[in-house]
Amino acid sequence: MGSVRIVTRHEFRTAVTRPSYIILTAAMPVLVALAVAGFAIFTLVTREDAEAETASSAESSAQTPRLGYVDLTDGPALFGAHQDQPGAVFVPMPDRDAGIAALNDEQIDALFVFPPDYAETGTVVRVRFADDAGGVFRPDGPSYSGTLRGFVLSNLFADEVPVGLAERLQIPYRLEIEEVRPDGGTEDESAGFDLGRAAFFAVAGISLLFSVFFSSGYVLNALVEEKENRVMEVLLSSVKPDALLLGKFLGLGAAGLLQMAAWLASVGVGVLVVGLIVDIPADILTMPGVGDIAIAAGYFLFGYALFASLMAAVGAVTTSLREANQISAIVIVPAFIPVWLNFILFSEPEGTVARVLTYIPVTAPVTGFIRLAIGAMGPLETVAALLVLAASAAGALWLAMRLFRAYLLMYGKRPTLKEMARSVVSG
């Protein structure tokens, strides 16, 4: 174990002190900081606009239109109450002349006259100045018809119907549409959906994708570089191939996970900062359960082991970094199949495609995270998928070690598939 520890430490130190690693690791916190800063600035600006609008609204409410009216109907006054209407105040005028004078002095914004035969005819006269009256142009202004309707109805039914019903007389209905199945049941997609769990597995899934790219890529690069610069044979005189490979897995995996942790932490801090600025659903800010953390950790661990092993196998049988990167696409591309087929996974998360992808080793981790985020994987299926993934990772590690032992000192020529198969079988 001493050799593994030394190799692990060396690989970790070498990886985390590379300029490319440092730049890449710092990129996410910087991007998050910039995004949060941009969001904060945007929010502050829009909030100032909103406050200004609110202040303007308050100011404008202080200047609520005053609508004068003259009630000339016979008998008891029909319009003696409900002068405060939404958006206007009705001001009674003793007679028509007083109203015209008030209109002329701009004490009121409009003047309405209810003539004596209003009850029979429903006629209401709006008095306004002609365009050339006084040689001064006066714009027509708002019609106030809606406000007038509310004022009239409120007074006509003031003593006849309850207040609530009076409101319905003013706004008889609001149309809403409900969709149902033929059996009468309703589709309620939000039922049982756990937003916090979805957010957790979504973030974990994205992180896993990055892990696939970076951590296992580090393993590939480290192996091929050591083959290219001929350090490999020197190392192998001091440490067994299996220990060397294991040390690389652990050291470079730790470097990759540290990078992930830095990125996730920066995203977490960013979310918290955004939470201070705006309201975020409380579910997202709650800690995930132990079971969910264990599932995510299992997918991380076995997923990384699978892809790092496959990358190590690629590194073992290739002779240059360029060739290795080209061949590694065979491993990386299938990992993204669930992303390309996301529309199927989201529309039919428990369909055949989703279930099959859950058990194919290279597509299992990403598919698992997507389905877990949707809430479409039960405990039994999750455990079964993890077991299959773990077994696949172990098989890939075994394969990588066989190929590594067989081709670690091979320079200049890539073995054929037949040769590789023979090496794997013979050990």
């Binding site: 060396h10 610069n229 044979e233 190392l235 440490v239």
Partner: protein, 320 residues
Amino acid sequence: MATLATSGAPVRATGLWKRFGALDVVRDVSLEIAPGEVVGFVGPNGAGKSTTIRMMLDIFAPDRGTVEVFGAPIDDAARRRIGYLPEERGLYPGLRIPPILKYMAELKGVPSHEAPGLADAALERLGLTEHRTKKVGELSRGLRQLLQFAATIQHKPDFLVLDEPFSGLDPVNVRLMKNTVADLRDDGVAVLFSTHQMTDVEELCDRVVMINHGEIVLNGGVREIRRQHASDRLLLECTSDMPYALCLPGVAAAEMRGDGWRISLTEEGSAEGVLQALLDAGIQIERFEREAPTLEEIFLRIVGSSDGNGTADERTHTGG
């Protein structure tokens, strides 16, 4: 001072076989090296030298045969007592020298706090101290090779394997490295020295093992082998005239060579008979010796014969 082996020979390989594809690369190779012994491991390209070395170091597993290092199958403890400078060698070009040497030393079991001191001593021994803060990529090829040698010996191994150690080095650095190897041998370190340069073997090695087509075709002390491969020719220099060399008993042919004669014997002739005849004739002899071939000539003769110009009987196996 290197720690001497506590038990068993530094390395004892017995009946090693290795097959790649349809080709037996190494066939029944047995080899043992004693403490303080420098063994030259020679052979043409593709003869199986590197594969044999890799099996001895447990980098490749033999298909048949066994390897014991310090009296037991190789393990981590034994690996730590080995220094290996492979033919295909290199270091991390982007890293500085101290962390590389520290890593190499730690892999050899040197405690972390002792590694820098050992590295400094090795660098000083090979004249690399002034370069110690540089990156490997900043060094010339020769200096990189010396650095690699420093990494190989810094942990004071008991068994040193050097595969073509002088290739690419200038004469000054070759001499420096040879002196260092000689010092290590004097300290009791066993050295297996693989090379194509027979002159280096003659200079450095106590014993030579020649391998061809995966088989050992020669194994013995350097002087002993040269003596065994001595020809039926004599080299003779006299202070007085010797106009009748051809008339000496047992002489088939004689030719002038520099200041002396090169005499070929008949099947019945012997060096002792010629010498006695010369003494009887009162010839004053300055030099009389059997012509011994160089290792290179022996190498060419054996490799040539086993490549189809001779028979298997011409292969020489001697003890040692």
